[in-house]
């Protein structure tokens, strides 16, 4: 399902009168059916951006998976800490930004990494730096949106969080549950089973069932794929159903290319066989990549904007207004954020408008009075 190809096809069909039915031929062709094409061209020019967060204990293969997903090598110069250095490590937030281009479409990809999560002996509240970061991005966007110069707002909000569940356990561990519950209402959480090459097919199935049950039992709201429209063809619906049943995805990543079945593929070479990352019968990497990039990237962004950000915004405003009524101050209903532009100008403009309104109201009253007097006479 190449989204771009699909759109191109659609536009072609719309522009080509030969394909129309006889009835439609009689209708005058207005031409707004080319809107998707116009949007498409504009967005291609503008480029897309996407922020992906990866979270999980160290050694789960997060960086390898990111490199495999986007065919990049973001972590070339990374220096791993040894055991002594890790003892005093706190959870950090590290951002890598990379610009990728494919077939003329530009993507500004930001990967937010969380080294140190879950590694300490005492992991109480180890997710706090992460939730704080997400809230910070929301707050930043909120301010920018409420500001006066909205032309070049940078959207740093986290669109998706991939959470890596270790394959060694018997399901979700306490730290997994707590982390996902802390984040499920702030960001789209997509749980993954990491390093799936240490599990046999039956073990994978058992673990997936277990994880799905526990997610439901603990009330964790992971990212739900939207229902496909009823007018999609059967094949699409079937694929969609398979995708949903595959959650959480069991993934394997690789930084190396190996020779398998006469081809060079990304994979891992073991003495007992070769694991191919892009082989659907070996792992769900292809499904994850399709979801993340090829079919649901835009939906992830939409859900972030429409749901998570709106929730944050509503909460924020509510907090502020409740604070206002508490303090018993009568201020304007405009948010009390320090705006990036100088307050004086805004205040002046507002005052001007107020005065103008007041004058107009006075004039209106005078006119009404005159009419009234005129009637009386």
């Amino acid at each position: 399902m190449d989204a771009i190809m699909l759109q191109e096809k659609l536009v072609e069909r719309l522009l080509c009168p030969r394909v129309r039915t006889s009835r439609q031929k009689e209708k005058q062709y207005v031409g707004f059916a080319t809107l998707p094409n116009q949007v498409h061209r504009k967005s291609v020019k503008k480029g897309f951006d996407f922020t992906l967060m990866v979270a999980g204990e160290s050694g789960m293969g997060k960086s390898t998976l990111v490199n495999s997903l986007f065919l990049t090598d973001l972590y070339k110069d990374r220096k791993l800490l040894n055991a002594e250095e890790r003892i005093n490590q706190t959870v950090e937030i590290i951002k890598h930004t990379v610009d990728i281009e494919e077939k003329g479409v530009k993507l500004k990809l930001t990967i937010v990494d969380t080294p140190g999560f879950g590694d300490a002996v005492n992991n109480n509240e180890c997710w706090k730096p992460i939730t704080d970061y997400i809230d910070q991005q929301f707050e930043q966007y909120f301010r920018d949106e409420s500001g006066l110069n909205r032309k070049n707002i940078q959207d740093n909000r986290v669109h998706c969080c991939l959470y890596f569940i270790p394959p060694f356990g018997h399901g979700l561990r306490p730290v997994d549950v707590e982390f996902m519950k802390a984040l499920h209402e702030k960001v789209n959480v997509v749980p993954l089973i990491a390093k799936a090459d240490c599990l046999t097919p039956s073990e994978i199935k058992k673990l997936k069932d277990r994880v799905r049950d526990e997610i439901e039992r603990f009330g964790i709201k992971v990212y739900q794929f939207p229902e496909c429209d009823s007018d999609e063809d059967e094949e699409f619906k079937q694929l969609d159903k398979e995708l949903k049943e595959c959650c959480p995805f069991a993934v394997i990543g690789s930084n190396t290319v190996v020779e398998a079945r006469g081809q060079r593929v990304r994979g891992r070479l073991y003495p007992w066989g070769i694991v191919e990352v892009e082989n659907q019968s070996h792992c769900d990497f292809v499904k994850l990549r399709n979801i993340l990039i090829r079919s649901h990237m835009h939906d992830l962004k939409d859900v972030t904007c429409d749901m998570h950000y709106e929730n944050y915004r509503a909460q924020c405003i509510q907090d502020m207004t409740s604070k206002l009524t508490q303090d018993n101050r009568m201020e304007s209903p405009i948010p009390m954020l320090p705006l990036p532009t100088p307050d004086v100008e805004t205040d002046r403009l507002i005052k001007m408008k107020d005065e103008e309104l007041a004058r107009m109201q006075e004039m209106l009253n005078k006119m009404q009075q005159q009419i009234h007097d005129g009637k009386d006479q």
Partner: protein, 373 residues
């Protein structure tokens, strides 16, 4: 509890002894048949005057050991899901783990760390062994794992205490039941990076009281290069933190020992894969794990190092492990304890440590399910 007779194959446990063939007896409680007296005198040929017969003592020792049987107590520590129970079953080729014994093994994580020990009597070629597997569910599974090693330290010290009490008893048993932990297998998750803070904390504390054998669990997720790199970083981490795992350098007795142990020290921690399922590979039935891309054979040294671990633990170094526990770790504990009581202001002699009523059977602190022979 139903009687279940567990038969295992323990080749080599009697490799230290020169053995004549003993019929493997499958019936209960039968004493091994008396072996023929070695015709050693004859092999020395002429000059019967030079043969005294001292080496016949080996045979006598062997017979005695066979009658007495051996004891081995192994503790397994690691996060849940690392394949500890499966590895135990694979090592002893029988269902010796806690999960195999309890009918409905719950997979919940206990709120505090529990210590559960299960004993089995296994026999091979007439040699009997009482194997106790001590499991520690709940270790490292919580969000806050501070002090999770404390219950384990306490348990190990309690076993030493129990032995000590029995030893300083005035009227003590002929053969003190040995419940001391001989070996602690610590399971490291195969992250591929380095030791975690929890691993370092645990091992640095426990290496002083018990023999620790670290293993890399579920090693089928590491390629060979990753495995070597991981092992190297682990060894460096152990060195940097002053953790002395088995075989400890300072307890090497002579040059031969040192040579053998150096080779082992180059290889620890062993990267193991466990399995209790058999698959058909090249016409043979082997223990392994079957995946879509191949079958991992547990006993194939090109695949994983399980065979080395088994040889170390059972075939070559079992007696050495027990010796170090009793002659070094236990002695350290004993000296400390006796000095503590000697340092008491009223200066009670050590013998009054023991309350005569407590002499036999100090309170058992673990649940023992012993299978009747």
């Amino acid at each position: 509890m139903s009687d279940s007779k567990v038969t295992a194959h323990l080749d080599g446990i009697i490799s230290d002894f020169e053995g004549s063939e003993v019929n493997p007896s499958h019936s209960n409680m039968s004493a091994p048949p008396h072996p023929q007296p070695p015709a050693k005198g004859a092999s020395h040929g002429t000059g019967d005057f030079s043969y005294v017969g001292i080496d016949a003592i080996l045979e006598q020792m062997r017979r005695k050991a066979m009658k007495q049987g051996f004891e081995l107590n192994i503790m397994i520590v690691g996060q849940s899901g690392l394949g500890k129970s499966t590895l135990m079953n694979t090592l002893f080729k029988s269902k010796v783990s806690r999960k195999s014994v309890v009918s409905n093994p719950e997979e919940r994580i206990p709120k505090t760390i529990e210590i559960k020990s299960i004993s089995h009597d296994i026999e091979e070629k007439g040699v009997r062994m009482k194997l106790t597997v001590i499991d520690t569910p709940g270790f490292g599974d919580h969000i806050n794992n501070e002090n999770c090693w404390q219950p384990i330290m306490k348990f190990i010290n309690d076993q030493y205490e129990q032995y000590l009490q029995e030893e300083i008893n005035i009227d003590r048993k002929k053969r003190i039941p040995d419940s001391r932990v001989h070996c602690c297998m610590y399971f490291i998750p195969p992250t591929g990076h380095c030791l975690r803070p929890l691993d370092v904390e645990f091992m640095s504390r426990l290496s002083k009281v018990v023999n620790i054998v670290p293993v890399i669990a579920k090693a089928d997720t590491l390629t060979l290069e990753e495995r070597d790199f991981f092992k190297q970083t682990i060894r460096e981490g152990l060195r940097a933190n002053g953790i002395d795992v088995y075989p400890q350098k300072e307890f090497d007795e002579d040059a031969d020992d040192r040579m053998i142990n150096d080779k082992i020290r180059e290889m620890i921690p062993f990267a193991v894969v466990g399995s209790d399922q058999e698959y058909q590979v090249n016409g043979k039935r082997l223990l392994g794990r079957k995946t879509k891309w191949g079958t991992i054979e547990v006993e194939n040294i090109a695949h994983c190092e399980f065979a080395y671990l088994r040889d170390l633990l059972i075939r070559t170094h079992m007696q050495n492990i027990k010796d170090i526990t009793s002659s070094i770790h236990y002695e350290v504990y004993r000296v400390r304890r006796l000095n503590e009581t000697n340092a008491q202001p009223n200066g009670q002699p050590p013998n009054t440590l023991v309350n005569p009523q407590q002499a036999n059977g100090a309170a058992a602190q673990h649940q023992v399910l012993t299978h009747e022979m």
